[in-house]
Symmetry: C2
Subunit: 463 residues, 2 copies
């Protein structure tokens, strides 16, 4: 059998997925029949002039789903798809897509605010370190491990927090977990239900999660400087969730006086806590990174949340929290029976990545990459200076554009869509519903040329 | 500098940890001084006649914690430990131990019921598959991925459940998560607070977690056959947590009539659910594996929990649940904003492990290994036939020994301890406090010779 698969190099759908979908459709519609032998991965990769790994990935996926049957030394054969649970109707052929949502919509440029750049991931280093961990002599790595996370990784995190965030945390205070959501669940076991003040607007997922975890959510309005601490004092909150280094979605950096006010508030009454989410503090393009709240020298009322999703890759799912002593001492009793959620192998690879200096090198490199994208976006946006103000710049992976005339975000988004550009409103992040004239432009997973192209299109649509 | 480290080959503490502790102590007590150069990993491994990797692991740990400073091309140097946060007092030198608890107690043989055998993990295969995934062409693996878990892995799990557990689940019903505890948290978001009936005794961690997740727990007593379904009917429970394939800690296999009664109970009223924990169904040494509840053909009231902790390794932290349609349709709305907790890289490695036939081969091998240990234990226990009955055998990784004379477990455990053997009581698993004359003997991470040695010691202590 020969397959002539029409590959579209528009970047919207990876090749392996196009091959996957094509073969699946051919099978479900009966054009490839049960028992037919498919071209070898080698033959198909040569015919399509693409890497053999790409074909292999598609074949693996088709095999995983039961569409192809691999026979050692012989090759791949078409399965009887009537047998297959997914084969009930041919429409199912379209449903597989690992990251469907962003790809099926028809945008030339997508300024997604939660993206990260995956083009510069140090695969070779990671492979090498994984190989060093996955050795017979290192069998301990297969056993359960510490519920808080491996001591070695916790120590590496402390040294990093010390040098990069000005914090003096001990490994004994650190808890590693597979994502911020999971850590918030653990934290809830320690704090019990709380009245949690949050910045309005805020990171919606977190406020929703906190609510579902049966906390009461108290929105506090923000101004240019960030959370309005005098408004906080008018509530009966006993915890505050803040992003002082780079607030989402406003992009504001909380100034020192507000930080001190937050700390004062927390220290006035025992049992009050500041929940500091330091999600993207590493990427700061002018000046030094903003120190964390904990760096102010008072650590007891602060619970610190950090993640490697932005700095390494979201794929490895490693987040961590630093607990104040008053909560930490109850951890073993209240949370000790939750097994660690991050693979011990991954923990050891990450610890080696940090200890070997690779993490610092990678961060420096990514700072350069992101600075380039950030600067390209700022420069391209110069024609917008009359009609729009830019905020949240100089840090993070997105910035905010606000219409000076107050054009509502829905109109901005619709006009951009006409021009083939996806931009993101901020009103959905407000807990108190309100009109917004602001949009977010994320730049992390765009190339500089795409950024310029996107802004040119926005110019025609919005100016 | 030369170090003569006295290594103890008693198996209680791994070599790398002994090296780690020795050097740390030397540093903290000032016997190794700031700036001194340590022996190279090569020199030390030759001097101690151990693998260089072992020394490297110790040095890496010491480096991670700031005790040693590595200098490229030059070697390792002693840090100024006064600076180090962990160096406040020399007592801290003793605190590091990745799996302290089981190692510091003084037992010759530990029949831990939750152990697994890590000696047969296919490191070479896993390394190879990880290398195949960690390639530049496969950058998608670095992006966020599906909150439910990768479709490919979910499809592999379904094919496995179909062939091995007789279930007809669709990938769309499967949710992957980092451990059962996390999945129970997600599940709670879907079911809301429930009145959950549990077998008494049961797996304590789960019942505690369910309670903390604000469910009400209703203990139902068990007899030789398992959960007493007529007692269940006298409660107002709307969910039941059961381990039909191999109940912990009784080891009972729920017979077909009880299974049918459970299903009948669940189907009588809409909104009732059976939460089936199938934690170690794979290891069955006589006859075929017991099918899951879902295999009976009715799937709606059943929530199925599975894990790869026993079958592959607890290190990778991959569990999964299969949701019935009535809960599944709300998943995206109620849980869609929780990011997937398992590394996408690990998911893809595991999918390849399953699809390439390695999983089946590994399972077959481990079944043989565990059968050997199980049979060795059963045979060694023959002299106990007069005074003890054995139950829970022929499956799983532990069995239960019950004193026919009703000698309380506390006395059995104390006598065994005298003989240097650790055995485990079952009374702590009862929700309704009661005396027990039973102990658990886990055999997974013992060698057959250790099993025989342990039982010989028990013979003297208990008979």
């Amino acid at each position: 059998m020969e397959l002539s698969i029409p590959l579209a190099a528009d970047g919207r759908s990876p090749y392996y997925e196009q091959i996957y979908s094509y073969i699946k459709r051919e099978l479900l519609t009966g054009r490839i029949r049960k028992g037919e032998k498919l071209p070898s991965t080698r033959a198909l990769s040569l015919a399509l002039s693409i890497s053999r790994n790409t074909v292999q990935t598609a074949y693996d996926q088709l095999t995983a789903e039961g569409y192809l049957i691999p026979e050692p030394q012989r090759g791949y054969f078409a399965a009887d798809v009537q047998w297959n649970y997914a084969g009930e109707n041919a429409a199912a052929a379209e449903t597989f897509s690992p990251d469907k949502a962003p790809q099926t919509e028809d945008y030339a440029v997508d300024f997604a605010p939660f993206g990260v750049d995956v083009a510069h991931f140090p695969f070779a280093t990671w492979r090498k370190l994984a190989r060093e961990i996955l050795i017979e002599e290192n069998r301990e790595v297969l056993t359960g491990g510490d519920p808080r996370g491996e001591y070695g990784l916790r120590a590496s995190i402390c040294r990093y927090l010390n040098s990069s965030r000005g914090m003096r945390a001990k490994p004994e205070q650190v808890v590693i977990g597979a994502g911020t959501a999971y850590l918030l669940m653990l934290l809830t076991q320690l704090t019990g239900s709380r009245r949690i003040a949050v910045e309005d607007p805020t990171y919606r997922h977190v406020s929703r999660m906190l609510k579902r975890l049966s906390h009461e959510i108290l929105p506090i309005s923000t101004d240019r400087q960030g959370i309005r601490t005098e408004e906080l004092r008018q509530t009966d909150a006993d915890m505050v969730y803040v992003m002082p280094a780079h607030q989402f979605p406003t992009g504001a950096v909380l100034p020192l006086n507000r930080r001190q006010e937050l700390l004062r508030w927390a220290e006035e009454r025992p049992g009050r806590y500041l929940l500091e989410d330091d999600y993207d503090s590493e990427f700061r393009y002018r000046g030094k990174p903003i120190p964390s709240l904990s760096a102010l020298g008072v650590s007891d009322p602060i619970i610190y949340l950090g993640t490697f999703s932005q700095t390494v890759t979201p794929a490895i799912r490693v987040s961590f929290m630093v607990l104040p002593e008053s909560l930490n001492r109850d951890f073993d009793e209240k949370c000790g029976y939750y097994s660690q959620t991050v693979s011990r192998i991954d923990q050891e690879v990450l610890a080696k990545f940090m200890d070997g200096g690779y993490f610092e090198r990678h961060l420096n490199r990514m700072r350069g990459v992101y600075r380039g994208k950030h600067d390209a976006l700022i420069e391209a946006l110069q024609p917008f200076a009359g009609a729009f103000s830019v905020s949240g710049e100089r840090a993070g992976l997105y910035l905010r554009l606000t219409s000076k005339k107050g054009v509502p975000e829905s109109r901005l988004i619709a006009a951009a869509k006409e021009a083939g550009v996806k931009i993101y409103g901020v009103s959905e992040y407000f807990l108190t519903p309100r009109e917004s004239a602001s949009v977010l432009l994320g730049f992390a997973n765009l190339q500089e040329a795409e950024i310029r192209d996107g802004v040119r299109r926005l110019e025609e649509a919005l100016l």
